[in-house]
């Protein structure tokens, strides 16, 4: 027999009994106690345990029924788990496409899973990649060319330039494939032709007066439709593949919004906010990707997407690789404006301009833009010559600080005012006329906008890592700070030790008097 009650005090015995689950053994213990010390409290403890064990036994048999009844749920559940497991691998390099899709509000929202209609759904129910292809045919590099106010954004041209360079190399390394620009708007045939001049081989456009302004639903529907090659024969017979091999989006506000949805629609992943790209083969040993543990597999023609990672100290290279039974194509990313150079436009370049054909459903336009306001500096801080950024250094007189920043902005031809998170979350009491410049929409950094202008002027900014990742790619960085130990000094081209309340007005004056040649500064000229 296992347990001898003689050896224990009643308290100890009570604990010991917890380890005994067998009613027969407990009865034996009870007998032994009776035969021995026959303590009342000990007997009670054993009785209690016997009752508990009985309850468990019943529960156990119920459990068996439940398990079989629920078998179906269980099966579904495994699938979910598998998916989660993949994302949880945490190997940034290899499993990142899922992470990316996730971060961008991709397909794995649990709430969607919970909304099945049969009334029996479990929140754990599986979400299948119904449209995901396996062994699909992929070709070309597609570039989403964002249009605003009837013009191609600068970043659209930059991406075309990079795509041209990549695909010329691709032709040399493998075979010829094309750069395909895709765009939409109110009247954009002319812009499609401009895309050819900036390096595209094919430009697919969709015109509709309702598309004048970015709208999430129709834009993403059209983009996915284009990418899948749906539409009339005339509009699609220039291609013979399932989906693009690669796709680039601009990392602008609209581009980010669109890229997440379109890549989710195409059941692929997304590397957001990239600043460099190249195409190369890569060898992978992650079993999720190879299908077999311990085996290495070479993936050809992989788009390597580099992005400044969280800390800003390092770059992560994100790869979007097929699984053995499920493709992750197109390999897609969004590109930080200013990362690449556009090519010099060549109006004589030959290329194919295709008008896309698709019925746009009325309900996609349920969101109606009833009013809009163009903020003169634009809350999109990207695409300017100069960004002036203010930090908590303005704390002694916050309103005056913003005024001085704005004056400097005005002294440039094309500048915008940005702020640090320190300002957004401060308790400063700004006066009404400057308050609008102190909101989150102007924040630069990890959780704000990412800019890379030719000239970045940071006044009273300490240079926290999370701020740095939002402006580090600027060509020339000028910092104004009273503290010579401020971090920003480490990554500034020019560091002006001084009080911003004195330095900013002097800069403004010098500019207005034409004494300061900014292009000279930006080109790395004299301080």
């Amino acid at each position: 027999m296992g347990l001898d009650p003689e050896e224990f005090t009643v308290d100890e015995l009570t604990d010991e009994l917890e380890t005994v689950d067998d009613a027969d053994e407990l009865s034996a213990v009870l007998e032994a106690e009776r035969a021995g010390q026959n303590r009342k409290t000990a007997r009670e403890a054993i009785h209690r345990r016997l009752e508990a064990v009985d309850a468990f036994d019943d529960a156990g048999s119920d459990g068996a029924d439940e398990a079989s009844e629920e078998a179906e749920t269980e099966g579904e559940y495994e699938e979910t788990r598998e998916e989660v497991g993949e994302a949880a691998e945490g190997e940034a390099e290899e499993a990142a496409e899922e992470d990316a899709a996730d971060a961008e509000g991709g397909p794995r929202e649990p709430s969607e899973a919970a909304q099945e209609e049969d009334g029996l759904s479990h929140p754990t129910a599986d979400k299948r990649h119904v449209r995901a292809l396996s062994g699909g045919d992929y070709r070309d590099m597609w570039v989403f060319c964002e249009v605003q106010q009837g013009e191609l954004l600068e970043v659209s041209k930059e991406m075309l330039g990079k795509a041209r360079e990549l695909m010329d190399q691709y032709a040399a390394d493998y075979e010829e494939e094309h750069v395909v620009a895709f765009l939409m708007g109110d009247d954009c045939e002319g812009l499609a032709e401009e895309c050819i001049a900036y390096g595209a081989d094919v430009a697919v456009y969709h015109d509709d007066d309702r598309l004048e302004r970015f709208l999430h639903k129709p834009y993403s529907e059209i983009a996915a439709h284009m990418a899948r090659g749906q539409g009339t024969v005339e509009s699609t017979d220039w291609r013979a593949y399932d989906e693009p091999r690669y796709v680039l989006f601009p990392a602008t506000n609209n581009g980010r919004d669109l890229s997440a949805q379109v890549q989710a629609e195409l059941d692929s992943g997304l590397a957001s906010d990239c600043s460099d790209l190249y195409i190369e083969a890569t060898e992978i040993s992650n079993p999720v990707k190879t299908g077999e543990p311990g085996v290495k597999k070479t993936f050809e023609r992989v788009l390597h997407m580099k992005r400044p990672d969280f800390s800003g100290f390092e770059y992560s290279t994100i790869l979007c690789l097929d699984n053995p039974d499920r493709d992750f194509h197109p390999q897609g990313c969004s590109v930080i404006p200013g990362s690449f150079e556009p090519m010099d436009p060549d109006p004589d370049r030959e290329g194919l301009v295709v008008e896309h054909d698709m019925e746009l459903e009325e309900e996609w336009f349920a969101v109606e833009v009833t009013e809009h306001d163009e903020l003169e500096a634009g809350v999109d801080l990207t695409g300017h010559e100069v960004v002036v950024c203010l930090g908590r250094g303005i704390g002694d007189d916050p309103t005056l600080g913003v005024e001085l920043g704005l004056e400097l902005v005005d002294a440039f031809d094309d500048a915008a005012l940005g702020i640090t998170r320190g300002i957004v979350t401060s308790s400063y009491q700004f006066e009404g006329h400057v308050e609008e410049y102190t909101k989150e929409e102007r924040q630069i950094g990890e959780t704000g906008q990412i800019v890379a202008p030719p000239l970045y002027i940071a006044a009273g900014v300490s240079g926290a890592i999370q701020h740095k990742v939002g402006m580090d790619e600027s060509e020339t960085i000028v910092a104004i700070n009273t503290d010579t130990d401020a971090r920003i000094r480490d990554f500034s081209d020019y560091f002006i030790e001084g009080d911003l309340f004195e330095v900013l007005p002097r800069l403004t004056e010098a500019l207005e008097a034409g004494e300061l040649d900014v292009t000279a500064v930006a080109d790395g000229g004299e301080d």
Binding site: D15, A55, G63, D65, E74, A88, P123, T124, R421, Y428
Partner: protein, 566 residues
């Protein structure tokens, strides 16, 4: 299903499970695993991207001989899979300036201890999650990560389920709140409040990289041995509390635990107190020259002596682990995870025992009496503490004792040879340590007098340069929920919320990159100091929920800080 009650929300179309466990730390994992053993259909909801990504502990998990359940009972193979090192040696160092008197506490450590391992929470909890998922899937449930339960679902005033940020409400016959310290469920149920700083400790920890062989060399231990060092005395600016250092497989866990009220009173900066430990000459022998910190983290812990809930249930809701205040910190022993495991398993057993009972509170009642009967509550909230503390926490008594200790007579008393032996023995007495009152006398004065009178001077040069707060924050991983701050300041006056500027472990006076900042604001000629808040650097420790006037919640599922070590 036979067992499913229909009085819940089922008719209203809510998803229904027999049991919902909120949180997949050791308490939740134990509960879910036992529930699955009993065949109960159990859904586990965890707000982190993976279990462990939100969790921090000092790092020792005990298996007590007297406990009805230990973690390796429920999860066989746990020690081999995720135990960093078994803790085989245990020391306390009483520090006065550069003088140190060390006592071997191994006997105390081994009292009622079957085994004790150093662990890191990300690794351990993620491993538990996988086991729990496997087990609960077999009875029709599973673990869902990235889901934050944000409150209780009530019908006619009775708790019937939970509501989440990410999912529709879910009903259940049993709801286990294992959602950790600052449990939003316990608060919602009115079982715990977040008001009194003296009911909490704040723990701050650095995980430091060090090669396994080097650890063995520097700490003079074997490959399957580990050591715990505790530190008390005058190196923490008079703040009540102490430090610890535990050896992991190839890292060290070094941290501090302070009474939150004392931290606030002294306006101390938690990261500076940690740095005071890291840079003390005594640590030079272990840390050497190159110091690489992998992670900086912090968490509040409840003081079970004061807040372990004697009846941790309401309706179908039971509280388990830190959520129920079941964190035992008595003198130098810190036990939380083991009690959470016991409580979780007992709650599950209680439900299994009473599941046919029509009274929805019967599981809670059974759980309460099992906590009592198993002796768990007695350990968490010893009655003897309740009377010793009445006398000895009273400031007058403290002052008198301190006066004696600091007087030449007191010093002599500590310094005489008899006292030397007695002190060693006293520190190893669980009873005395349990009674060590939580006053400065126990934490600071006594240890520093001991250090002063009995200690030997250490002359090592400590070359550690701990990272600045800005870099510690920079090294952390965040998935920021942009535009949705999870904490809001209700009162931004310095009087109401200023304490957080220093007490928040990622904020500091004159530091612009933290959560809380004091700012001098001029309005119409008058100057005023206000407090501003940025929740992005937050490590979700819970401190400001207690010491500032806030509306405090955790971030949505998967958002916020993600600990890699924990």
């Amino acid at each position: 299903m036979a067992m499913r009650r229909t009085d819940g929300g089922a008719e209203e179309g809510y998803e229904h499970y027999e049991a919902i466990v909120v949180g997949c730390g050791p308490g939740g994992a134990a509960a879910a695993s036992r529930l699955a053993d009993h065949g109960v259909e159990t859904l586990v909801l965890e707000r982190g991207v993976e279990a462990g990504s939100k969790n921090v502990s000092g790092g020792l998990i005990y298996a007590e001989e007297s406990a009805p359940y230990t973690i390796d009972d429920l999860f066989p193979g746990m020690r081999e899979a995720v135990g960093e090192r078994p803790i085989t040696d245990y020391y306390i160092h009483n520090i006065a300036g550069k003088k140190v008197k060390t006592y071997d506490l191994t006997r105390l450590h081994e009292h009622d201890t079957d085994w004790c391992d150093a662990v890191l929470r990300r690794r351990m909890d993620a491993w538990l999650e996988a086991r729990v998922h496997e087990k609960t899937s077999e009875t029709g449930g599973g673990v869902l990560t990235g889901v934050r339960v944000n409150g209780l679902l009530r019908e006619n005033g009775e708790i019937v389920g939970v509501t989440c940020d990410e999912l529709d409400p879910i009903t259940a016959d049993l709801i286990v709140a294992a959602d950790g310290v600052n449990s939003e469920l316990a608060r919602d149920a009115g079982l715990m409040d977040w008001e009194e700083p003296d009911e909490w400790f704040q723990g701050v920890k650095a995980v430091v990289e060090m090669d396994g062989e080097r650890i063995e060399d520097r700490f003079a231990i074997g490959a399957d041995e580990g050591v715990a060092h505790l530190f008390s005395g005058d190196l923490f600016e008079g703040v009540r509390g102490g430090g610890f250092l535990y050896t992991n497989a190839d890292t060290l866990s070094i941290g501090t635990v302070f009474h939150l009220d004392s931290l606030v009173e002294e306006r101390a900066e938690p990261h500076e107190l940690l740095d005071a430990l890291l840079t003390h000459p005594l640590l030079a022998q272990w840390l050497g020259e190159e110091y690489r910190e992998l992670e900086y983290s912090a968490k509040l812990v409840p003081d079970s002596k004061k807040v372990a809930h004697r009846e941790p249930y309401r309706d179908r809701l039971v509280l388990v682990g830190d959520a129920a205040g079941q964190m035992q910190a008595q003198g130098p022993i810190i036990k939380g995870m083991n009690h959470a495991v016991t409580a979780g398993a007992l709650a599950a057993d209680a439900f299994a025992r009473t599941r046919r009972d029509a009274d929805t509170e019967s599981a809670g009642r059974a759980y309460t009496s099992m906590l009592e009967e198993s002796g768990t509550m007695g350990k968490l909230r010893p009655r003897r503490y309740e009377y010793t503390s009445v006398v000895s926490e009273r400031p007058l008594v403290t002052r008198v004792v301190e006066g004696v200790l600091n007087s030449p007579v007191g010093g002599v008393a500590v310094g005489n040879p008899l006292a030397k032996r007695l002190l060693g023995r006293a520190y190893n007495s669980p009873l005395l340590v349990g009674m060590l009152p939580d006053t400065e006398t126990g934490y600071v004065t006594l240890p520093s007098v001991i250090g002063e009178k009995l200690g030997r001077t250490v002359h090592w040069e400590n070359e550690v340069e701990p990272p600045a707060l800005v870099d510690r924050i920079g090294e952390l991983t965040y998935d920021t929920d942009v535009g949705n701050p999870h904490i809001r300041l209700r009162d931004e006056s310095y009087a109401a919320s200023g304490a957080a500027v220093t007490a928040c472990p990622v904020s500091a006076e004159d530091f612009g990159g933290g959560c809380y900042r004091a700012e001098t604001v001029k309005t119409n000629g008058t100057e005023e100091t206000l407090v501003s808040l940025d929740t992005q650097p937050c490590v979700e420790c819970g401190t400001c929920a207690i010491v500032a006037d806030t509306e405090w919640e955790h971030p949505r599922g998967g958002k916020g800080v993600e600990f890699r070590q924990g």
